[in-house]
Symmetry: C2
Subunit: 522 residues, 2 copies
Amino acid sequence: MINAVGREIPDEILRKMKKPVFTGAYSQKKDVVIRTTAKSRCAAIEKGKPAESKLLVSIEDVIEKTGIKDGMTISFHHHMRNGDEVVNLVMEAIAKKGIKDIHIAASGLFQCHEPLVKLMEEDVVTGITVSTISPGPLAKAITNGKLKHPAVFMSHGGRPRAIEAGELHIDVAFISAPCCDAYGNMNGAYGKSACGVLSYAYADAQYADQVVAVTDNLVEFPACPIEISQEKVDYVVQVESIGNPEGISFGPTKPTTDPENLKIADMTAQLLNETGYIKNGMSMQTGAGGTSIAVAAAVGQIMKEKKIRGSFASGGITSYFVEMLKEDLFQGLLDVQCFDSVAIESCRDNPRHMPMSASQYANPNTKGCLVNQLDIMILGATEIDVDFNVNVVTGSNGVILSSSGGNNDCAAGAKIAVVVTNLVKRDMCILRERVTTVVTPGETVDVLVTEYGIAVNPNRTDLMKLLKHSQLPVMNIHELKAIGDQKATKIVKPQFTDKIVGIVEYRDGSVIDVVKKPIQEF
Amino acid sequence: MINAVGREIPDEILRKMKKPVFTGAYSQKKDVVIRTTAKSRCAAIEKGKPAESKLLVSIEDVIEKTGIKDGMTISFHHHMRNGDEVVNLVMEAIAKKGIKDIHIAASGLFQCHEPLVKLMEEDVVTGITVSTISPGPLAKAITNGKLKHPAVFMSHGGRPRAIEAGELHIDVAFISAPCCDAYGNMNGAYGKSACGVLSYAYADAQYADQVVAVTDNLVEFPACPIEISQEKVDYVVQVESIGNPEGISFGPTKPTTDPENLKIADMTAQLLNETGYIKNGMSMQTGAGGTSIAVAAAVGQIMKEKKIRGSFASGGITSYFVEMLKEDLFQGLLDVQCFDSVAIESCRDNPRHMPMSASQYANPNTKGCLVNQLDIMILGATEIDVDFNVNVVTGSNGVILSSSGGNNDCAAGAKIAVVVTNLVKRDMCILRERVTTVVTPGETVDVLVTEYGIAVNPNRTDLMKLLKHSQLPVMNIHELKAIGDQKATKIVKPQFTDKIVGIVEYRDGSVIDVVKKPIQEF
């Protein structure tokens, strides 16, 4: 079946996954949804009183007690990012017990999770559902078809939506807890492995059949603050280390110093200014890429010059937004993930830097999530096409590079969604006739800003009008593509097999695209 | 049917209410429970983007939009206590619209809610489910049989249990929000009507079909901190006042100055000391009564002398526990309700003074609630009997004086549950052969301390042994009763009609007793 962004989605996959095809960014919006039931064990009675101990002695003990077995879904959150050690620890123990056919539902997976590749080859891990994945061995192995079932790429808002709807049922959730007491009260703020917030794990704690806190910092009862509370937690297990916090600020979390990217950032800020989005009460989110952060810096500069105070900045938080909060450029920060140690400290110490759940952040099936309040969203892209469809999952050669993250969530919610990217990357024009994989539908993307020019989505006639007399290099997206094609010295036209290795879910749960195994091995 | 505390519970009531009889404090414990489904409206799409406004102009508008109609259940929380204005405001508007047969599921109702009496007479309000109720016109009207259906008295832990189980279904929850933004993020910490925490409303926000925030302090987005978050809130309405915060510290929230009560407090502290409960890592809860608070003060004195540092104090929090936190006698406070302005300020400013949900506090059908961790619980009582059964709902004359509160929750969880009370009150001996109404089963009550002596529950042979050589006036409960009967100059033997005006639910949802209409009118 051809979906609303022109992608062929095999009927067989739709039947098998019991998912609808994508029919438009808001077309599958429901009036009312039903959040599913959730199991809860009740505290045992021992010697005539409710039992007090939830402490287990080892991960092996946890696997025994939770009864993890073939075919189960277990979940993880990714706030330790590339420093995480819990996924490997748990999966190694599962493999040792001879358990097979595990579905990992992680909010994110990184290079450090390379050991999963071997477990995929051994059919210990046969399914992966993920919202963030970093380029590297694991992403390559999925690309190469080593995972038995197609990986499912969900957005940050789509994941809690799926959990709450009962579409993504978690048997056992493992929550990495930098600070935890023996009865399961925990937070991400304190301890040698402090990661800031535990936001992506809230839905898991609420809906998984069983919840295990894994900590390397067991504190006296009660842990303080209580970010996830005891009545949701079945077991607590202490390990030597849940991860290396240095791995948290993995990837670009600083503003670019590249002159071309700085130019893109400046043009973007200028465009936002000319179109009236930089104003009192404004809100803003950027990804953690170098150019995105440079946009935040440039926007901050204009805010200061114009004495503008915004409402909030949101999403994954870096030190740059912390700085803007300190300068009182925003009323508050709303944080689902701390990207560096400055953000971790700020979230711990500054009450105006607040954690939020993934549902509060971006779940479309709620009474109103935060992305609905966003004015400005700065998006990254591996590719974009002439219909403004955005790809962040695969590179132009077809290799998996990332997952949806909050890309299509924020684009759907924000009043202006701007893709900032070099037009020419690695000698290739990333503005294509059709992106390799659609993650974010073009109807929700408003502007593309590149080093060679700016294209505005024709459905935003209001922006066109505002930019009519601008000095900015605004042009038709086809003109921009022609420039890119001319500047590029390399054209990659990957060939694909018929094997589907990934399914890209739109935030509403519909299939917006599939990822096929390229003929080339990665 | 006669239940496990010897009470006759008419089969008809059990069938009608679909509730089991009480069979023992822990006998109906389940291994696993299922939390029910919950409805959620999804934010509308307006002009191609998710709609942003949840603001309604008036309570009338709220009733219109939520579609409140005959027979619905609407809920309220009671953190504004005797200062609350929201219940009356909403109910008045409902009455004006001619809506009948409303079931009010409030975590608490006070003297200020006297206008409900008229609405009961007019069949606007025909059902009440409540966990706290103050003596006064409303309680008298229920006693006199003015409510069409029997009132249901739930414990503080039983209420969220019933909500999560789907037994108490809420159509529309009204949440009084001292600080709220237009998208429904709210807290109890700030504003002219600051009440501290909103704990009892968390379950309502999670499970009600529709959730309305009623605020007299609409702040810029985002409200900070976010105690209940936007994605759970359908509508926000601004009113002139949600209540008078002076009504919060209603009732005794200061230590007694009465010499007899001080003696009871001192003996209690001494008993706790001699039985080894005053030790490092200890935890403690008391009610807000004058004698209970005096116990806290006396225990605190021993802690200081012995250089003991406790784990936590919990429950409704008064300035006396705040003082103990400041003196570092406890690691933390866990708060479901602030009883005075000092507690409100502390909860706002001291990170170690933490809010908790009613489920985290006392819900027996969870993986472990806070009362399970309690060492010492100091209970109040209107009556106690020779089987150590406790009454807090009715007076000896049969009039309704209160509701279950956390009484049976804390008794069931705590390692030592001590009832502190005058043996002789208003010239009557409150130690009876059988209490008028059983709220807390004697099997969970360990000690009774009165001005004339102390009785230990015979099932606590360990305590008996520890107190063998004590100087404290420990005696058999029948001996203590004989003293009380001798000292008392008045005997009240109320006569009851057959009309059931109240049902007392044990925390597990079983019927532990019923309240019948006395022949005497109140």
